[in-house]
Symmetry: C2
Subunit: 251 residues, 2 copies
Amino acid sequence: MLVHQGIERVIRRYETRAPLTDADRAAIRTLPFTYRTLDPAAYIVREGEPPVVCALLLSGFAYRHKVTGEGERQILSVHMAGEFLDLQNSFLDVVDHHVQALTRVDIASVPVAAMRRIAESHPLIGRAMWIDTLIDSAIFREWIVNVGRRDAISRVAHVLCEFALRLKAAGLATAYRYELPMTQEQLADVTGLTAVHVNRVLKELGHQGLIARDKRAVEIVDWDRLSAVGDFSARYLHLDSGIPVNSASAG
Amino acid sequence: MLVHQGIERVIRRYETRAPLTDADRAAIRTLPFTYRTLDPAAYIVREGEPPVVCALLLSGFAYRHKVTGEGERQILSVHMAGEFLDLQNSFLDVVDHHVQALTRVDIASVPVAAMRRIAESHPLIGRAMWIDTLIDSAIFREWIVNVGRRDAISRVAHVLCEFALRLKAAGLATAYRYELPMTQEQLADVTGLTAVHVNRVLKELGHQGLIARDKRAVEIVDWDRLSAVGDFSARYLHLDSGIPVNSASAG
DNA sequence: GACTGCCACTAACCTATGTTAGTCATACGG
DNA sequence: CCGTATGACTAACATAGGTTAGTGGCAGTC
C-alpha cells in the first residue's frame, strides 16, 4: 500500500515534467524493487562505495551529508517521500557522500543497472529523472548562497521557508504548519551553524512573531516577514505549485 | 580553429563518459552553433529569463553566481574551456542564477530546443550531458561543505587545489602552476569571505610555504600540505586523470 | 521507578572574520 | 605624460557566532 503510494507519487511528479505514456508508467511500476524499513540514523549509502542500488524513499525523511577532515558534518540536502535518493550517484563511478535515514524510513531499492536501462529505453522517464537531478542542483546552489552569504537568522528562516513549500508541494503538510524532522543539531549541520546558535535563532524568530514552535512542530505565523528575513524566493525550487514566485502567500 | 578546438574538447570529454558512435560525434559537430566573443563581466545568462540558448565555452573562464537581497554576491561555480554553461538550465522552466564572463571569452551558443533534441535522439550524448550535470552537482555539494564547515584558510586552500586539478584535467595548465583567473574579491565571493580576509589568507599560505604567487599566477609549492590544509580529496571531481584520490601527487 | 541517553535550552566568555578607511602600484585612455 | 580606475594590500577596531560547561525534561528500558 505504502509501496504503491510511493511509486505513484514518483509517477505523478514525473508527469509534471514530461508527458509519460502508458508504457512509461508501466515500466516504472514494474521496476525490480526490493523493500526495506530502516531505523533513524541507518546508512542508506556510504561515501566511497560504488553505486549498486538506487533507493526510492517511500516514507519518512533522509539526508545527504559529508564530514570534513576535522570531523564536522555538513548536511547537503534533506529528502522526503516520493524522491529517489541516489540519482546523484547512479551514473557516476563512486559515491562522494553519505545518505542516512533522518526518521524511520521505508525505501524501495532498484539495482543501478535497471535504472540506467529504464532511463535509456524510456527517454521521457530519462528526461524526468534528469530534471529531478537538475532541481536537486538548483537547491544545492541556493544552499551555497545560504551558507556562504546569509547571516544566521536568515539561514534558518530560509530553510524553514524551503521546507514549508517542499512539504506542501509533496502533499505532506500544509505550508503553514509542519513537523520539522530533525534535531537542532541537525538543523545546525544544514545551516553551517552550531546547535547553540540555532537555538538562539529559533528563539529570536519566535520572539519576533514569525514562527511558533511546539517541540519540533513549526507554525509559520507570518509568512511574508519570515520569507523576507530569510531572503526567500521559491524560484529555485522549480515547483509547479501555483504559488507565486515572490513573497508567496502560501498555505 | 578555436571553435573546432572547443567542440573537440567536449567530444573528447564525453567519450570518457560513454562510448560515442561516429553518428554521435557528427551530431555534436553539426549542432547549429552561433559564435560570440564577450568582454570580462558580460552577462551570458541572467536570472529570471527562460532558457533560450545553451552556451559552450570555447575559451576563457565564466562564473555562475547569485546575489542575495542584501546585495552580497556568492559565486556558485567557475567554468573553463570545453564546458557547457547552461545544461543546468536548459531543461528547466526558468534560470535561477546569473552566468557571467570572468575573462574575455569565446562562446558557441546552441538553441535550447536543439540541445533537447540531440539529448533525446542520441541517448549516449544525453547520458554524457547528464553526467556532466551530475559532476557539476558533486562540485556544488563540495562547495556547500567548503563554505559551511571549513575555516578561511581551508576554504581558500581547497579552492586552489580544486582549480589545479580541474585545469590540469582540462589540459589548460599543469597542476603545480596556473593563472588564477579572478580578483581577490571574486575569490572572496567563491569562498564566502571578504576580500580583506582572502588577502590575509593568501599571505598566510605563502608564509607557510604552501604556495607562491606572482600577481595572479599561483604556484603550488607543497601539494601535500596544501591539500591537507584544504581538506582536499579529488574524489568529488570524478576525474579520470589517473591521479590517485587521496593526497594526490599531481603535476 | 530508578537509570540512561538524548535533546532543548542557557550563560559567560572567546575568537575568527568582518568593517572601515585608507595607501600604493599598475594599466589604460586621451 | 596626466588623470582615472582598479585591484592588492594594510591597520585598527567591531561583532556575529563559536566554545564550554552546564541544567532540566522526557522517553525508553530493565
